[in-house]
């Protein structure tokens, strides 16, 4: 109980610092995922449109996913140096697989009869993609986005080891200073962030599902 009050008072006293770290944390995640969307969605589309590429693209993304996060970030650091960019690039790589895979699966899951209807009424392949396939695969894409976001929020906590910021900084500071309170003050917001992202994106996903059912 005493510990709880101590923790709360610590957080209350350092709220501006913690908020800043949270925002840093979010910023890295958002950049990473936006980049992953920008690259992953087209790759997913390529996989769906051309089955030959699907195994190559998906297994490459899979291999990246398998590399332990600390290892991946460290290797990236060797090439990109310390700092924000390296972290963002790492998060981008980690978010790729769920986004590519779900884009691919989502496009594949679209009822073939709807594609036939669209093609038969004279839609061009691009119109078919933008008016039918992508809108209908949005719930899947959203699910991929959600998984990517949760993973990225988690991975971002090790950012300080390669010169990044975010809530990990508080945790690392706690480890170095053997301060239980500091560790919790970093870990709890990070966990909450992940839960919140999961919840909000989950709601959005459900909504999209209703719209496309």
């Amino acid at each position: 109980m005493e510990f709880m009050t101590e923790l709360l008072s610590y957080m209350a006293n350092h709220w501006d610092h913690l908020l800043e770290l949270t925002l840093d944390h979010l910023l890295m995640v958002v950049y990473g995922i936006l980049m992953a969307l920008a690259v992953g969605v087209p790759l997913g589309v390529i996989c769906a449109k051309n089955e030959r590429f699907a195994p190559v693209i998906l297994s490459t993304a899979n291999i990246i996913q398998i590399i332990p996060s600390l290892a991946l970030l460290s290797i990236l650091m060797l090439y990109f140096g310390l700092g924000f960019t390296t972290v963002v690039f790492g998060l981008f790589l980690y978010s790729l697989l769920p986004i590519i895979r779900n884009t691919y699966v989502g496009l594949k899951e679209v009822d073939p009869h709807l594609l036939e209807a669209g093609k038969g009424m004279g839609m061009t392949p691009l119109q078919l993609l933008t008016k039918v396939q992508i809108p209908l695969s949005l719930p899947f894409l959203m699910a991929g986005f959600r998984v990517a976001a949760v993973i990225a929020i988690g991975v971002a906590t090790i950012a300080p080891y390669i010169g990044g910021d975010g809530l990990g900084r508080e945790i690392v500071a706690g480890i170095n200073g053997r301060s239980e309170i500091e560790i919790y003050a970093g870990a709890i917001p990070a966990a909450l962030l992940a839960i919140l992202a999961d919840f909000l994106l989950g709601m959005l996903e459900k909504r999209l599902k209703r719209l496309t059912a």
């Binding site: 009822d111 709807l114 036939e116 038969g120 009424m121 004279g122 039918v132 209908l136």
Partner: protein
Amino acid sequence: MIRLEGVQKVYEDGFKALKNINIEFKRGEISVLIGPSGCGKTTTMKLLNRLIEHTEGKVLIDGKDISTIDPIDLRRSIGYVIQHIGLFPHMSIKENVAAVPKLLKWDTERIEKRVTELLNMVGLDPDTYKDRRPSELSGGQQQRVGVIRALAAEPSIILMDEPFSALDPISREQLQDELVRLQKEIQKTIIFVTHDMDEAIKIADQIILMKDGEVVQQGTPVQILQNPANEFVEEFIGKERLQKYRSMPTVEEFMEKRSAIVSPDMPLPKAMKQMEEHHLDTMIVVDGYRQVKGQLSIFQMFNNNDANKLVVDVMKPVKYRVQTGTPLEDALTLMSQHDVHALPVIDKKLGCLGLITKNRMIEGMARIYSMPRKEGA
């Protein structure tokens, strides 16, 4: 008008889906492609909007070879209704109906007007339904929308691929009726694929029956039902249906038998008495070997009213005769062509069985046409 000339479809693996198809779909008619699965009916239909490309021959729409038309433009000018309804679930009813006009870049006002008009046409209140999603409609309502979506951009040709097969029997009947009613208004060239013979009989102006990539028989429903080309057609139509529709009787069902037959050596007064008794105006003269010798009409008898004469003295030769199994319709045609009132009916051994007269024919026809039949058939 759409014409297929020597069309073949051979797939890369060598499978011949269509073998030398030559057919015509007439403007403003419902042509039904029917046959067992794998017969090529859907393939034939999909050639028309180039969802499938033929490998040999020509497909002409109003004389123009469709392989010279851009497939996208071609498809936008042809309505298409698919079996699985295929309404886009993420779009409202209005957006679904407006899909092709939007592709054609109609202005919003024109689209709005057209959607309202079309929804009214199939009895869906625009204010109630236009903003709903397909999932909020019943299957029958959804396919109504599917049909008007195909009509939206005012194409003159509409392809329908088993459009009502996924519906429950009641909705299916309703939509068939509606299609027949609608067609009277819109007069489109409709190519309709089905495997349901009852559906084909109900809606078709022309039925094209296919098997193994070939056309087996082509004609109006009545023609096909009355004269199935071969055993396969009979089997496909089904015995029960054939009996029902084959009820167009043949001559022997209505012929006068013994009552109209006299022997050549019968005295005239006796023959006249027999004529009176059976209310006939013509009789057939048959010898002991069942050979037709001549005919005797009431006029000949009045002109030769001589009690001493025999039938053989006044009878006239018979020019025309019909075989057993001849439909009444054909006998009637023969009669009016040659201006005769009666025809002897002979069996395959050329023996005379009786006489079919115009009066009996009229009775027969009356029976047929008092039966409930498809309108316009």
